[in-house]
Structure formats: structure tokens, C-alpha cells
């Protein structure tokens, strides 16, 4: 590998940025699958109804709330 330090640093930054992006997208993939099962019953239309998109948003936010609740509860058990 014959890259100078500045180039190595730049490549490192690109890799870190792409890794962070991939992690965020993986979370979106996971939430989409989970909340689709909860909120979507049929595909009579190719668009989300307002009820369905509200359900998807609530599902994501409540899943995050529930995860935070679990963390806080487990932390309180340690004390």
C-alpha cells in the first residue's frame, strides 16, 4: 500500500461514513419489516393510506420508546 497519510485518512473517512450509513439503513430495513407486519394487511392500492402511514410512524416511534424503556429498566435493576 503506497498511499500517503492524507490519502489514507481520506479513505478511512469514506469508509466510516459508508459504515454509518449502512448501519442506519439496516435499522430502517429492520423497522420497515417489523412495522409492515403490524400495519399493512393488504395491497389493494400501491400507496399507503393515511391510516397505514400513521401506523408505520407510530410503530417506529413506539418501538424506539420501548427499547429505551427496556434499557432504563435494566439500568435501574443494576443499582
Amino acid at each position: 500500500m503506497a498511499f500517503d497519510e492524507a490519502t489514507q485518512r481520506e479513505l478511512q473517512q469514506v469508509l466510516e461514513k459508508e459504515t454509518a450509513k449502512a448501519q442506519l439503513q439496516n435499522t430502517v430495513h429492520e423497522f420497515t419489516g417489523r412495522c409492515w407486519d403490524v400495519c399493512i394487511r393488504e395491497a389493494k392500492s400501491n400507496q399507503l393510506s393515511s391510516k397505514e402511514s400513521q401506523c408505520m410512524r407510530n410503530c417506529v416511534e413506539r418501538f424506539i420508546d420501548a427499547s429505551m424503556f427496556v434499557v432504563k429498566r435494566l439500568q435501574s435493576l443494576q443499582n
Binding site: M1, F3, T7, E10, L11, V14, L15, E18, K21, A22, L24, Q25, N26, T27, V28, H29, F31, T32, G33, C35, W36, D37, C39, I40, E42, A43, K44, S45, N46, Q47, L48, E52, S53, M56, R57, V60, E61, I64
Partner: protein, 97 residues
């Protein structure tokens, strides 16, 4: 399989070798591999969820009503992905002052 980053070099297919690549080629590889992985994940989740919804009792062939349902389901899944992405990104941004 070659031996990886060491002597034999990382084989990226298409005859390219990481040790003979320029910086821009490496950046391009990183980005296109990430995009490929994202697309594969999306294809796999759409197939899984839309097959379940649209082909509940698989027959000898895919009927036209099955295909119609799959087409709408794909659009809808992409819309759902987008809604989740917006909601999650907004949530993450709210956490960071």
C-alpha cells in the same frame, strides 16, 4: 478464495486487485459494494413480505392477480421504507443537540 489483504491481495472480481487500485477506484468500490448490499437487503425483504401477502396459496403458476398484487405491494413497501426512514432520521436528529 485468495488469502485476503496479505500477499495475494484482495480479489474484488473482474481481475481488479486492491493493491493496484487508485484512491478513486477504492472509494468507488466501497460505495458500490454498499449500494449493492442495500439493494440485496431490500429485494430480500420485499420478496419475503410481498410473497406472504400476495401468494398465500402457491399454485402451478403465478396468476395475473398475483402479479397485480405483487406490483402494488412492491410500490407500497418502498413507500413504507421511505416513511420509516424519514421518521427514524427525524428521531435521530432530535436526539442530537
Amino acid at each position: 478464495m485468495s488469502s485476503g489483504f496479505g500477499g495475494a491481495g484482495l480479489d474484488l472480481g473482474g481481475g481488479s486487485n486492491i493493491e493496484s487500485m487508485s484512491k478513486d477506484e477504492i472509494i468507488h468500490q466501497i460505495r458500490s459494494q454498499a449500494a449493492l448490499a442495500g439493494a440485496q437487503e431490500l429485494i430480500s425483504s420485499i420478496s419475503k413480505h410481498c410473497f406472504k401477502m400476495c401468494v398465500p396459496a402457491p399454485g402451478p403458476s403465478l396468476g395475473s392477480s398475483d402479479e397485480g398484487c405483487l406490483g402494488r405491494c412492491i410500490d407500497k413497501y418502498l413507500a413504507a421504507w421511505d416513511a420509516v426512514s424519514r421518521t427514524y432520521v427525524a428521531h435521530v436528529q432530535k436526539q442530537q443537540p
